[in-house]
Symmetry: C2
Subunit: 300 residues, 2 copies
């Protein structure tokens, strides 16, 4: 399963970066290969200053070794070895009318002292962070997620949609990072689903990612916008930074497992503003967005 | 002591904000009074978009109630009541040749079940974060800190300077946030120093703050700079954000005690950039700064 999934994310990285380069038309991804001292490494691909994409990363990594102490405590296991591989991507479009997207799919193994598999599971998801709310875009994104979920388990979509709303939430602001999508930290095997089923589900999501996101990017990338729209985007990106650095377990995992800092923090937006106590005027497009972030709704 | 120190920081806030307004010549501080549901509140003063100061805050707060669970664990105490008051300030100058400054002085009390004082202590410090290195400025700042320290205890300066280097350190980047200053989390009473001595020391630092920082600001605020200098400042401000959101216990304390979010996060810089894997060219002014951040040195 390790090799099968790693080969999958390698080819998915190729497919996704090729498509984003084609949409951008100017910038291309820069590739960095890196190694982790304790075992493993990754292939980081970053795009910056494009026509369409202001900054983005589509990274894969595969790390292994002894599970760090803090993660032992988190998983309530003793000193064990682990393996983890996954693909993480974040795209920050230049145009504030186009949403930022994040996706991650990962596979994890933990071993007993004899080297046998103690636990193994998939996790991940995809979610959308718009700066201006086009309801049809959000519905389309959620519908695409739901279609894949429904092929596998009728309960997946609603469960993972709720997970996503709960997880990508800035507790200190009492507001969601974006309009969600789906998120599952740990797919559990049961009588009706095997690890192989989970592989099919996760790769099904990977296969559909471009179809879920790029139509929105293409539709919004050339809309005229004002300097005020851009300021709003940069202020909202500040909330994105707050989530990733204060709340996100993925970022924490990367920092604690001595991952490559520049690959982990590639998720941070290119230009960000923090204005003191900044609130949009009532009955504006900006206020309309905040409303659905404060009170997440069902989109499909 | 509670009232004595709170009155001191109230008048210090007045003095400091008046002086920064006078230096800025355009922007004035906006005041917000706030209350904390669990007890206490604060007086937040923020300045934005000035001639000299791009963003800054000089805040006082006084909070009390039951110590939050996470702080009970941190202090290794049970369920106890606490009182904390302090002044926190951060000034982000517009000109990248002028350094950002941060200072904080605080007083803390914890009570036993009968309401008696279990522990009481002062903490705080002041530190400098330049974007371009003017060695004479850093020396002057440290010398001013040392002069106050030396009046009270010959060991204070070196101990607190080392504390500061160790504390304001981005572990995940293996580099200091800035060029330091002094920092003391918890002043201990002993045979030679009483709480009253600590009050004199901390207020001595408060009284000297403007003298430690404003000469540097005045000297650098009108230096001509390029767009590239400004980009470097905004990239370095990204490291400032990383420290405050990932590493800083003060920010965490604020978030965990249900402090006012906008007052806590006023420390975040106004405009920030994250560029992927951005390194200055060798033998540039930017590289010279990084060298002293990677390997903190003694300035006096």
């Amino acid at each position: 399963m390790k090799d099968l999934f790693y080969n999958y994310i390698k080819s998915l990285q190729d497919k996704v970066t090729k498509e984003f380069e084609s949409i951008d038309g100017k910038a291309i991804f820069k590739e960095d290969l890196w190694e982790r001292i304790e075992g493993g490494g990754g292939r980081t691909r970053i795009i910056e200053n494009g026509n369409v994409i202001e900054k983005g990363g589509v990274n894969i990594s595969s790390v292994h070794g002894e599970l760090p102490k803090s993660m032992q405590d988190y998983f309530k296991v003793g000193k064990v070895d682990f393996f983890a591989c996954g693909l993480s991507l974040v795209i920050h479009p230049l145009n504030p009318m186009a949403p930022t997207v994040h996706a991650n799919w990962r596979y994890f193994e933990m071993y007993n002292k004899e080297g046998g598999i103690l636990k193994q599971w998939f996790g991940g998801g995809l979610d959308l962070t718009p700066f201006y709310l086009f309801e049809e875009d959000v519905k389309y994104f959620h519908q695409t997620c739901k279609a894949i979920c429904d092929k596998h388990n009728s309960k997946y979509y609603l469960t993972f949609k709720r997970n996503c709303d709960a997880y990508f939430f800035n507790k200190h602001r009492n507001e969601a990072r974006g309009v969600g999508g789906i998120f599952f930290d740990y797919l559990k095997k049961d009588d009706t689903s095997s690890l192989k089923d989970h592989y099919k589900f996760v790769t099904g999501l990977g296969d559909s990612f471009l179809n879920a996101y790029t139509p929105l990017l293409k539709k919004r990338k050339d809309i005229k916008y004002t300097a005020a729209n851009k300021i709003w985007q940069e202020v909202r990106r500040g909330r994105y930074v707050e989530f990733n650095l204060i709340q996100d377990k993925g970022t924490l995992f990367g920092l604690q497992t001595n991952g490559r800092i520049e690959s982990i923090l590639m998720s941070l937006p290119p230009k960000v503003q923090w204005k003191y106590n900044y609130h949009p005027e009532p009955n504006t497009e900006e206020a309309r967005l905040l409303k659905v972030l404060k009170f997440p709704i069902d989109w499909v």
